[in-house]
């Protein structure tokens, strides 16, 4: 099964499209688009866990928030730290934490795992609240965005559009890597484990280690997204590590659809737009959110992406909704 060249063309087109956005969009839309790309990475990392590995975590924000805080704290305490070094520090620390937490929590499965991750998220939140001297507690931490050091030149990313380009390239590349990851040996291993874990064991795969590696990887990616989130807002508060942030990513992924790679990206898009405008329309938006959620669980478990796939199939005259697992993600 060769990856169709098409996918690469689409990626290049998307990047080019992204590159002209600053010429087309107004500044505030560009600002929002930057945020959407960051949250898309966060959502993609979560979907690798939920959609590909079938692990329902209610604690993904602990990595997102950890990455966000580590970036902020290191920028504040290490003078002259460059932007990418701060991101790398975040990445390293979230990777280590993901490995340790994963080792502890992955001994459990299903609902129990979900509950544990939520409890650990609460633990992280409590620590962030309590550890005022480092995290700023309830006040949060504000930073000023450091410059990019490219080795030969220093690049200012203080303007909305220059930071947008940075995010487009670095975060965009991370998303592409995640997509590529789903086709690599490890990505396939994870997917196959969800399909038939027992068989994988008897084919020589250590499924426990695989799960731990994946959990660590997705945690690190979430931490990366968190670090960029801090750099974007130049501010981090405990809401970044709160259960609300887990809820947010769950919503993005679920609304977008867990069954395709690009579903969560769409979900992040819709979520951010809605969060901006739905609350202007009604202050009862949590009610509508709940209703949408229940409706989708009951009737559209595949999310928006599944709807789009179904519509496409309907247009192309094919009948029946086929269950498009990530296994066939490359087809869509």
């Amino acid at each position: 099964m060769k990856l169709k060249t098409n996918s690469y063309i689409v990626i290049i087109v998307l990047f080019l499209l992204g590159a002209v956005m600053p010429l087309v969009l107004r500044r505030y839309n560009l600002f929002m688009l930057t945020e959407i790309i960051i949250f898309a990475l966060y959502a993609v990392s979560y979907n690798l866990l939920l959609g590909y590995a079938g692990l329902l975590s209610f604690g993904h924000a602990m990595f997102f928030g950890l990455g966000a805080f580590v970036a902020a704290v290191s920028i504040i305490h290490i003078p002259g730290l460059t932007l990418l070094s701060a991101v790398i520090i975040s990445l390293v620390i979230t990777t280590i934490t993901g490995f340790l937490i994963g080792g502890l929590l992955l001994r459990h499965k299903g609902a129990y795992f979900a509950l544990l991750t939520m409890a650990f998220n609460a633990l992280f939140y409590a620590v962030a609240t309590k550890w005022h001297s480092v995290t700023g507690g309830d006040d949060g931490l504000s930073i000023s965005r450091p410059e990019m050091d490219l080795g030969f030149a220093s690049l200012s990313v203080s303007s909305v559009s220059s930071f947008y380009y940075l995010i487009l390239i670095v975060v965009g590349a991370s998303i592409v890597f995640c997509w590529y990851f789903t086709h690599t040996a490890m990505g396939k291993t994870v997917l196959l484990m969800r399909e038939n874990e027992e068989r994988m064991k008897f084919l020589g795969y250590n499924t426990n280690i695989s799960r731990l590696i994946l959990f660590t990887f997705t945690g690190a990616i979430a931490g990366l997204a968190g670090a960029f989130y801090t750099l974007h807002f130049q501010f981090v508060s405990i809401s970044a590590i709160s259960i609300d942030m887990t809820t947010a990513v769950l919503l993005m992924v679920f609304v977008g659809g867990t069954r395709t790679f690009w579903g969560p990206i769409l979900g992040a898009f819709v979520y951010i737009i809605f969060q901006n405008y739905l609350s202007d329309i009604t202050d009862r938006w949590p009610l509508f959110m709940g209703l949408i959620f229940v409706f989708m669980v009951l009737y559209v478990p595949g999310g928006l992406s599944q709807t789009i796939v179904s519509i496409r199939q309907w247009f192309s005259g094919r009948t029946g909704t086929q269950d498009n697992g990530p296994a066939k993600a490359e087809e869509t």
């Binding site: 169709k4 098409n6 689409v10 499209l17 969009l25 107004r26 500044r27 505030y28 839309n29 600002f31 929002m32 945020e35 609240t129 309590k130 005022h132 700023g136 507690g137 309830d138 006040d139 949060g140 504000s142 989130y229 807002f233 130049q234 501010f235 508060s237 405990i238 809401s239 970044a240 609300d244 690009w262 769409l266 898009f269 819709v270 737009i273 969060q275 901006n276 405008y277 609350s279 202007d280 202050d283 009862r284 938006w285 949590p286 789009i308 796939v309 519509i311 496409r312 247009f315 192309s316 087809e331 869509t332």
Partner: protein, 405 residues
Amino acid sequence: MKRSIIKSLCFLSAVLILSLPLYAAAADTIKIGATEPLSGTFKDIGERYLDGVVYAAKVINAKGGLLGKKVEVVPIDSELKPDVATRKAQNLIMKDDVRFFCGGTGSSVGAAMSQLAERENVIMYTYGMAAATMTGAKCNRNFFRPCANTDQQSYALAELIARKGYGKVAIIAQDYSFGQEALAAFKKKLAQANPSAKIVAELYHPAGTKDYAPYISQIIAAKPDVIFTPNWGNDLTILLKQGRPMGMSQKIFSYYINDEVTIQALGDDSLMIGNMGAEVYTLSIPTKKNEEFVASFYKDMGYYPTWLRGKAYVATMFWAEAVKKAGTTDVDAVIKAWEGLTYDGPAGLWTMRACDHQAQMPLWYTEIVAKTKFFDHAFEAPAGMAEAKDVSVPCAETGCIMKKK
């Protein structure tokens, strides 16, 4: 495959286009973005603050507006999350060129908004965020606080306790920066005002504590004459509700005792009567200006401009004075105009101090009594005044280094 990509791209662009503004900002209005939690658990607090801001705009507009322009309040649901608040505010700045923001709830939202204000060169003022550091170590020229901070409020209550001659004080606060700042300021002032007074118990509990019994037992065991707490909302309600039956009978001196919602939520006036609080605005300020304000508000709205509403109203009127003096909505001009400006409103004479942008004003202390003219439950007796100079923190002590442009 191609088709699906094309379609999803179409969808994406459609959403993008929809998110573009459909109208240009009207030039003849002055917009204020009010960041408040308008959904979720603290919705009621956000709505009451917003009510005060909106009423201020209404009063201004009824008198012909500000600089001949209408004032329009744009509510921003912060969800009590700094990132949500700043994102929406940022959008308003970029989209509609909104230059003025205000908010009263959540010091983390305030810290983020203050920083945004500096970066984007807009003005953020608060009528409720009390953390002293916001006009202290974290001050900046774009952030104004036309309300009391923790220092001022704690000073007022410490003064009051000292004056009443209480010797043994138990203090209890929520275990986060607000509570810690409030207690620190209280202890500092009490030591000055009455050196012989003793803190017999100092307790911190997590915000949202459900069982206060272990704390109450420690308070009772310490046998204080009086209890001081900056707790608000449910943390105050439950403390009283669980404490009184266990024999914690001391009077409570609290920041926000004048919250009619707390009194109603207790549902038992006897738990409240005798307690005292101090605030920049309370309904029972016995000045002519306040009585007029209360009367006209009541006539227009059908209810009283209690606590939060009043604070937001007075602060917004103060801001309007600054714009009026500047004669323009240019941010730098308004900042300049507001620094040192004095406003004589319903809550007395307020001065915006230039060195840290912290308003200096009298605080009004009041005792909860069984019968008032306002409600059929217990409420505040006519307020007494703690003079501005008694609750003031000298510029040098605030830790604020104001950068000038």
